[in-house]
Amino acid sequence: MGFYLGKRAIWSGLSLFLLVVMVFFMARLTGSPADLYLPIDAPTSMREEFSRLHGFDQPVYVQFFDFIRGLLTLDFGQSLRQGRPALALVLEAMPTTLLLALYSITSALVIAIVTGALAAWRPNSVFDRIATLLSLIGASLPNFWIAIVGVLVFAVGLRLVPTSGTGSISQWILPVAVLAIRPCGLLVQVARSSMISVLSSAYVKTARAKGARGGRIIFVHALRNAMLPVITVAGDQAAGIINGAVIVETIFGFPGIGKLMIDSITYRDFAVIQAGVMVTAIAIFMLNVVIDIVYAVLDPRIRMN
């Protein structure tokens, strides 16, 4: 278990490093980094001054070590737009996105597991067919379209929830729902097929022979084993949730990492973009470790090895 986690950590660390290298060289590939950091209409004298100030006139390897040193001391540079450390801006935005992702994936998981299990109880029943069709629709609708239609129907039309902002609980309902629909559709399909195979296994038949009721069989006996593939897919979806968060935050005006990135891209604030990419990568790395641990708790075979 420890060895397994260690191996994962080393690979994640390596991929993080490669990402750093990629971001560094990408910024240099397109010419002077001053072009990336400074506004388009900056005069030549300002560009030269900026290059000298930040060491961009040094050889590339010197710049690279400076860059790494900056990263190790958590110095990502200053935000041009707000004149504050880029990292502080990113860390301020992070909790909103994490909460959004947490609420979405939790509600998606709960709905998907219950629906999938009930659909698997009687395959090809009316409930099963409706659930399968709805999950397919949910898995293929574009995020931004659901968001736009959601705003039109529930905020503009019915006036049930506000269109944007983060002040009250009601403002979270629509973004969380939009973000949850896609993973939920996928997870229903996974939960259903995995539940069907578990329900046909010998130990479930034994439970049935002993006279256990349907609900008890599904939620006490079968669920734990049927959860494993669901957790795997949910983990894969986590990176997808961040993708979705970029769009949902932009549409609903949520001050999360996605909106920060889009705003920084619009205002050419490269320091913040860089910090955002790094922090997101680290967050996803930590999430993968958490999923590994959950997996080990659920499956003793992994724990033993």
Binding site: S12, L14, L136, W145, I148, G240, I265, G276, I284, N288
Partner: protein, 312 residues
């Protein structure tokens, strides 16, 4: 019956047999009503992508300031305006048809690129293995571990958001899917008896990989391809929606949704119709992919054939 379905999997392009083959495919498609409707939607989309700009190119770019944000389902301006008009008075119906070409072209190019590169690398990683295979897999893990949209945004920010760059970025983020699938299947197939037999009789590596192993992997890859086409379409639409994908004057469905966002509270149809087009096509692709998975799997195909046996 058994003979006819057999022709689906063999590759003898005899004239009479190929006609039977099309019939078999159509009958299998008819068995799954959802997939049948989906196939019709996809055919219409492909048709409009091929001929749309040629048929409706003029009305898609013609502005009519009197028809600015004209509401849908109003036939007083003619059938062209049945879905309404955009902020410059251009027919939305014509524009949706017109934009299908760029939308489809980008997705197709990205899918084909990632399919070719992913399959080749997967064949190498699966057949050769060793240090090269390990290195390929590790790089794949890295690409997969990062949110693709965020990466694409940064890449498109640094390089300019041209159509070619959008295709390259999307292709790179989708390579791992084909690579991992191909590798996993190749590793299993290469130890099967017929591959070993071919190896013993002296077939070259090239012949072994492309004549014996690849045809077995192909159906799985085609199924993934249909699913992935939907995914790439969504990704392109998201990028264009965020303003870092396709740029005007080029137009895709994602661009149209983005353009309509400003008028959301006064003219919902600007964003709604192109979004619906994306939703319908991706949903159809999912349904067809689902059907393909069953139809190309000899173990599961009876699900599509059984009802007819009852009638006969």
């Amino acid at each position: 019956m058994a003979n006819q379905t057999h022709t689906l999997t063999t590759s003898i392009p005899d004239e009479a047999m190929s006609e039977n083959r099309i019939k078999t495919v159509l009958r299998l498609l008819w068995r799954d009503k959802f997939a049948f409707v989906a196939a019709i939607i996809l055919t219409v989309t492909v048709f409009s992508a091929l001929f749309g700009p040629w048929l409706l190119g003029r009305s898609a770019t013609m502005m009519n300031l009197r028809a600015r944000n004209a509401p849908p389902f109003d036939l007083s301006r003619g059938f062209e305006y049945i879905l309404g008009a955009d902020s410059l008075g251009r027919s939305i119906l014509a524009r949706v048809v017109f934009a299908s070409q760029t939308t489809m072209m980008i997705a197709a190019a990205a899918v084909i690129c990632s399919l070719i590169i992913g399959t080749l690398l997967g064949l190498i990683a699966g057949y050769r293995g060793g240090l090269v295979g390990e290195a390929i897999m590790r790089i794949t893990d890295i690409v997969m571990s990062f949110p693709s949209l965020l990466l694409a945004l940064v890449v498109l920010y640094v390089f300019s958001p041209a159509i070619s760059n959008v295709i390259i970025v999307l292709a790179i983020t989708r390579i791992p899917i084909y690579l991992r699938t191909t590798r996993a299947e190749v590793m299993e197939i290469r130890s099967r008896m017929f591959v070993i037999a071919a190896e013993v009789t002296g077939a070259s590596t090239m012949r072994l990989v492309f004549k014996h192993i690849l045809p077995i992997v192909a159906p799985t890859l085609v199924t993934i391809m249909t699913l992935d086409f939907a995914f790439v379409m969504l990704a392109e639409a998201s990028l264009s929606f965020l303003g870092l994908g396709v740029q005007a004057p080029n137009v895709t469905w994602g661009v149209m949704v983005a353009e309509g966002r400003a008028y959301l509270s006064t003219a919902w149809w600007l964003s709604f119709w192109p979004g619906l087009a994306i939703a319908l096509v991706t949903m159809s692709l999912n349904l067809v992919s689902n059907w393909l998975r069953i139809a190309t799997d000899p173990v599961q195909r009876w699900r599509l054939e059984k009802p007819e046996d009852k009638n006969v």
